[in-house]
C-alpha cells in the first residue's frame, strides 16, 4: 500500500467532487431595459457564456443568444421548465422571451443536455 497514491487520489476525488458538484457562486446579474425586460446576452461557444444568469422574480426575461461556432452540439437551446426551445443558427442573434418567474433556479440546455446554463431567480 502506497499512502502517497492513496491519499493523493482521495484528495483529487474531493477536489473533483467540489469543483463539479459544489455550490456555485456568482453569475451575471442582468439589467432591465426600458421596455421592462431583463435582458441577458449570451455567447454560445462550446457552452453558454455566461452560463449563470441572475434575474429578479416577477419580471419578464429576454435572452439574446449569439452562436459563434458552427461545428458543435449547441445549435439548439431548450428551456424545459417553460416548454420553449429555439434553434441558434451560427452567427445570428436569436431572441428568446421568457415569462416572469418565481424565485428558484431553472436550467437551460442544449438538445441533449450536454451544455447547461442556469437561470437564478432572486427577489
Amino acid at each position: 500500500m502506497n499512502w502517497i497514491v492513496t491519499i493523493g487520489g482521495l484528495l483529487l476525488i474531493g477536489v473533483i467532487a467540489w469543483y463539479f458538484w459544489g455550490p456555485k457562486k456568482g453569475g451575471s446579474l442582468v439589467e432591465t431595459n426600458a421596455s421592462g425586460y431583463q435582458e441577458a446576452k449570451i455567447l454560445v461557444k462550446n457552452g453558454y457564456n455566461p452560463s449563470r444568469i441572475v434575474v429578479q422574480s416577477g419580471k419578464p426575461v429576454r435572452f439574446e443568444f449569439t452562436r459563434v461556432e458552427t461545428g458543435a452540439c449547441d445549435g439548439m437551446v431548450i428551456f424545459p421548465d417553460f416548454e420553449k426551445s429555439a434553434t441558434l443558427p451560427a452567427g445570428e442573434k436569436v431572441i428568446v422571451d421568457l415569462p416572469p418567474m418565481k424565485t428558484g433556479s431553472y436550467d437551460f440546455t442544449c438538445q441533449m443536455g450536454m451544455f447547461r446554463g442556469k437561470i437564478i431567480v432572486k427577489n
Binding site: G9, W21, Y48, G71, A72, A86, Q111, M112
Partner: protein
C-alpha cells in the same frame, strides 16, 4: 461518446437550426444546405478517421514488435526501439491533435463552466495514456521495475480513431432519422408560372407575392398556398395530410404549397406569404416538437449531470485500489484500469436516447399528417385510457345529406324531390341545402315557388304551380291538420336511425317523407373498432338529443354516450371523465370544442379545423380522417417504447461496462478489458442508440 459530443450531436443540430431562416430563403434552398452540412460533417469525420487509422498501423507494429516478426529490427532495450518509440509518440501526438482536437477543446470549455461531458472522459483517457508513455520513454528509472516503463501510444491513436469513426457513423445514421423534415422541406418547387401582364413567366419562388396568379398544369406541384380562381383538378395532398386519395379542387377552394396537381389545369391566387404557408407551419411545428422535452427526460438530466464527474471519480478509485491491492506491476494495471474506465463510459448514449427517438417519432407522425406539438403530449398519449369524440364533424361528416324519400300518396320519389327542393331553394337552413344539392345531383331543376315563408321550429310553406305546400316536422303537419293516416310512425323509427324526417304536404294531402341525416364518416366504424381493440374506451359527446346520439353511437359501435351536452359544458364533462382516474383524450374540430380540447390530457384537433381548435390542441390531424387518431396513438406508443428501449440500453451498457472496466471480473476470471476494446464498445454503444431510434421509421401506420 461525446467524443463525438461535439461531433456526433451537431449534425443533427444543423437541420434543427434552419427554420429561423425560412423567411429569408426558399425552403428548397434550406433543404439542400442541410443535406450538405451533414454530409460535410460526415466527410470531415471520415477524413479524421482515416488519418488516425493509417497512423495507427505503424504505431501498433512498433508497440508489439515481436508479435509482427519485427523483433530482430527492434530488439528489446535497443536504441533503435527507443527512437522508433519516440517517433511513434510524435505520430500519436499528431493524431490526437488533428483527429481528436475537439475532445480537448470541448473539455476545456466545459471545465470553465465547471461541467464535464464525454469530451472530458476521452480527453483524460487519451492524454493519460500518452503522458504515461512519455514518462516511460524519457525517465524509465523512476519506475520501480524496468518492465513497467512500457509505452501505450497504440491506445492513444486507436482510441481516437475508433471514437471518431463511431461519431462519423452516427452522423450518417442520424441524418436518416431527421429525414422527415428534409423531405417536407424539399417538397416545395423552386419556381412557378406566374401570370404577369397577361403572359406566363417562370418566376423563382422568392419573387412571388401575395395576389399573384399562378398557373398549375397536370403533374406540376403547387408552389405556395392560395385560392383557385379558375379551372379545376384533383390534387394529391398526401404529403400534408397522409391521405392518399386526391382532393377535388374547384373555384374558391384552397390549395397548398408542396401538393401535387394530378389531372387538370387551374389558376390560383397567392394568399399567403412563404413563411405563413401550411407547409412552413408544419415544418416549424415539427421542429419545435422535436426539440421539446418529455417528462422522463428530467430523470435522465439528473443522471447526466452526475455522470461524468462520477466516472472520473470511479476511475481514480479504481487506480488507487489496483495500485494498492492489485498484482505487480501496480502502476501499469492501475493505469490500464483507469484509462479503460474513462473510455468505456458513455454519457451521451443516455443523453441521446430521448431526443433521437423523439425526432424520429414526431417526424414519422408528420409524414402521415399527424402533427404532435410537444414531447409531453407524446408521452401522455401513450397512457390514454379514454377517447372522447365530438359527434358532429368528428364521427359524422358534420353536414346533413339526404338519406330517404318515402312516397306516401300518389307522388313519385322524383316528384317529391323536385317539390321539396323547389320549396327549400330560398331557405338558408343546412337541411335545405342537403335537399337542393341532392336534387341537382339527380338532374332535376327546381322550379320557382311563391309566397315562401319559414315557420320557425316547424318548417316552411309556399306555393308551387298553384298548389299549397307545407314542408316540415310532425308538429307542422298536426298544426295544419294534415291527415297522416298512421304514417307518423315513420317519425319514431327514423329518429332511432339518427335521421331527421320532414313531411311534405301538397294541397292539404300527405305527399311523403324526405329524411336527412348527418352521415357517419366512412372510417368511423373501423377506427372506433380499432381503438377498442387497442384497449381504449370510446365516449361520444354531443349537443344532440339522446335518441339521435344513441342512433349514431350504435352505428359506429360506441357504448357510452354523453348527449345533450351544451358546448360550454363539454370541458366539464371531460373533467368528470378524468376524475374517474383515467387519462382522457378529446377529439374535436369546432371552436366550441376548444375548452374541452384544452381540458383533456391530450387534445386532438381534427381536419382543417379552425385555427382556434388547432391552437388548443396537442395533436392535430391534418386530414379530416379519424384514422389519424389511431395512428397518433400508435406513433406515441411506439416512440415511447423506443425511448425506453434506448434509455434502458444506454443504462445497462454503462452499468455493466464500467464495473468490468474497473476490473470486477478480474479476481474471478482474470479478465481485464483493454482500453482498445473499451473504445470500440463506446463507439458502438452510442451508435446503437441511433440505430434503435431509426427502427421507428419502419413503424406501420396503415390499417384497414
Amino acid at each position: 461518446m461525446d467524443a463525438g459530443n461535439a461531433q456526433h450531436i451537431h449534425g443533427h443540430q444543423h437541420q434543427m437550426q434552419e427554420h429561423v431562416m425560412l423567411s429569408n430563403h426558399s425552403m428548397q434552398d434550406q433543404g439542400q444546405q442541410e443535406e450538405s452540412s451533414e454530409e460535410r460533417e460526415y466527410r470531415s469525420l471520415m477524413k479524421k478517421w482515416w488519418r488516425a487509422a493509417i497512423v495507427s498501423v505503424p504505431v501498433i507494429l512498433v508497440s508489439y514488435p515481436n508479435l509482427f516478426g519485427l523483433g530482430n529490427l527492434f530488439p528489446m532495450g535497443s536504441g533503435q526501439l527507443w527512437w522508433a518509440r519516440l517517433i511513434m509518440g510524435l505520430l500519436a501526438l499528431y493524431v490526437v491533435i488533428r483527429s481528436g482536437g475537439q475532445f480537448f477543446v470541448g473539455t476545456w470549455e466545459g471545465l470553465k463552466q465547471r461541467s464535464a461531458n464525454m469530451n472530458t472522459l476521452i480527453a483524460t483517457g487519451v492524454s493519460a495514456a500518452w503522458l504515461y508513455s512519455l514518462v516511460a520513454l524519457f525517465w524509465p528509472q523512476i519506475f520501480p521495475r524496468p518492465e513497467m516503463a512500457d509505452v501505450y501510444y497504440d491506445v492513444t491513436t486507436v482510441v481516437t480513431a475508433l471514437v471518431v469513426l463511431g461519431s462519423a457513423l452516427e452522423v450518417k445514421a442520424r441524418g436518416r432519422s431527421s429525414e422527415a423534415i428534409n423531405k417536407l422541406v424539399a417538397l416545395q418547387p423552386q419556381t412557378a408560372n406566374v401570370v404577369r401582364d397577361g403572359k406566363e413567366v417562370r418566376v423563382p419562388l422568392e419573387e412571388i407575392k401575395i395576389g399573384d396568379h399562378i398557373v398549375v398544369r397536370p403533374g406540376e406541384k403547387v408552389a405556395i398556398d392560395g385560392t383557385v380562381v379558375s379551372g379545376s383538378s384533383a390534387v394529391d395532398e398526401s404529403m400534408l395530410t397522409g391521405e392518399s386519395i386526391p382532393v377535388e379542387k374547384n373555384e374558391n377552394d384552397e390549395v397548398f404549397g408542396g401538393t401535387l396537381n394530378k389531372t387538370g389545369s387551374f389558376t390560383f391566387k397567392v394568399t399567403k406569404d412563404q413563411k405563413d404557408s401550411a407547409l412552413a407551419n408544419i415544418v416549424e411545428m415539427v421542429k419545435q416538437a422535436q426539440g421539446s422535452r418529455i417528462p422522463v427526460q428530467k430523470v435522465v438530466d439528473q443522471v447526466s449531470s452526475f455522470f461524468t464527474p462520477g466516472v472520473i471519480i470511479a476511475a481514480i478509485l479504481g487506480y488507487i485500489v489496483w495500485y494498492d491491492f492489485g498484482p505487480q506491476p501496480g502502476w501499469v494495471y492501475a493505469l490500464i484500469v483507469a484509462v479503460t474506465t474513462l473510455i468505456i463510459a458513455c454519457p451521451c448514449a443516455l443523453g441521446m436516447a430521448t431526443p433521437m427517438s423523439l425526432t424520429t417519432g414526431i417526424g414519422k407522425g408528420a409524414e402521415n399528417g399527424i402533427l404532435i406539438r410537444s414531447g409531453e403530449a407524446l408521452q401522455i398519449a401513450q397512457k390514454l385510457k379514454t377517447i372522447v369524440m365530438d359527434k358532429t364533424g368528428t364521427i359524422t361528416e358534420g353536414k346533413p345529406s339526404l338519406t330517404d324519400i318515402v312516397p306516401l300518396g300518389k307522388f313519385t320519389e322524383e316528384e317529391l324531390l323536385l317539390i321539396s327542393a323547389s320549396i327549400e331553394q330560398g331557405s338558408e337552413h343546412p337541411l335545405a341545402s342537403a335537399i337542393v344539392e341532392k336534387a341537382k345531383e339527380k338532374g332535376s331543376r327546381p322550379v320557382k315557388s311563391e309566397g315562401f315563408n319559414a315557420i320557425p321550429g316547424h318548417g316552411v310553406e309556399g306555393t308551387i304551380d298553384g298548389k299549397k305546400i307545407y314542408f316540415g316536422n310532425l308538429k307542422l303537419m298536426k298544426e295544419k291538420g294534415i291527415p297522416l293516416d298512421g304514417f307518423n310512425r315513420y317519425d319514431a323509427s327514423m329518429a332511432d336511425q339518427g335521421k331527421t324526417p320532414m313531411f311534405l304536404a301538397i294541397n292539404g294531402e300527405a305527399g311523403g317523407i324526405v329524411a336527412v341525416a348527418d352521415t357517419v364518416k366512412k372510417d368511423s366504424l373501423s377506427v372506433i373498432h380499432e381503438l377498442k381493440s387497442m384497449g381504449l374506451e370510446v365516449v361520444m359527446i354531443t349537443g344532440d338529443n339522446e335518441r339521435t346520439a344513441r342512433a349514431i353511437a350504435k352505428q359506429v359501435g360506441i357504448d357510452r354516450v354523453l348527449a345533450e351536452v351544451l358546448p360550454q359544458h363539454k370541458a366539464e364533462n371531460v373533467r368528470k371523465l378524468q376524475e374517474e382516474g383515467k387519462k382522457v383524450a378529446m377529439v374535436g374540430d369546432g371552436i366550441n370544442d376548444a375548452p374541452a380540447l384544452t381540458q383533456a390530457d391530450v387534445g386532438i384537433a381534427i381536419g382543417t379545423g379552425t385555427d382556434v381548435a388547432i391552437e388548443a390542441s396537442d395533436i392535430t390531424l391534418i386530414s379530416g380522417s379519424l384514422k389519424g387518431v389511431v395512428s397518433a396513438i400508435k406513433v406515441s406508443r411506439a416512440t415511447m417504447k423506443n425511448i425506453y428501449e434506448g434509455l434502458f440500453g444506454a443504462f445497462i451498457y454503462n452499468a455493466i461496462g464500467i464495473p468490468i472496466a474497473l476490473g470486477v471480473l478480474y479476481p474471478f476470471t482474470g479478465i481485464l478489458l483493454s482500453p482498445l476494446v473499451a473504445a470500440a464498445a463506446m463507439a458502438f454503444s452510442s451508435l446503437t442508440v441511433v440505430l434503435n431510434a431509426n427502427r421507428l421509421k419502419r413503424l406501420k401506420l396503415k390499417f384497414n
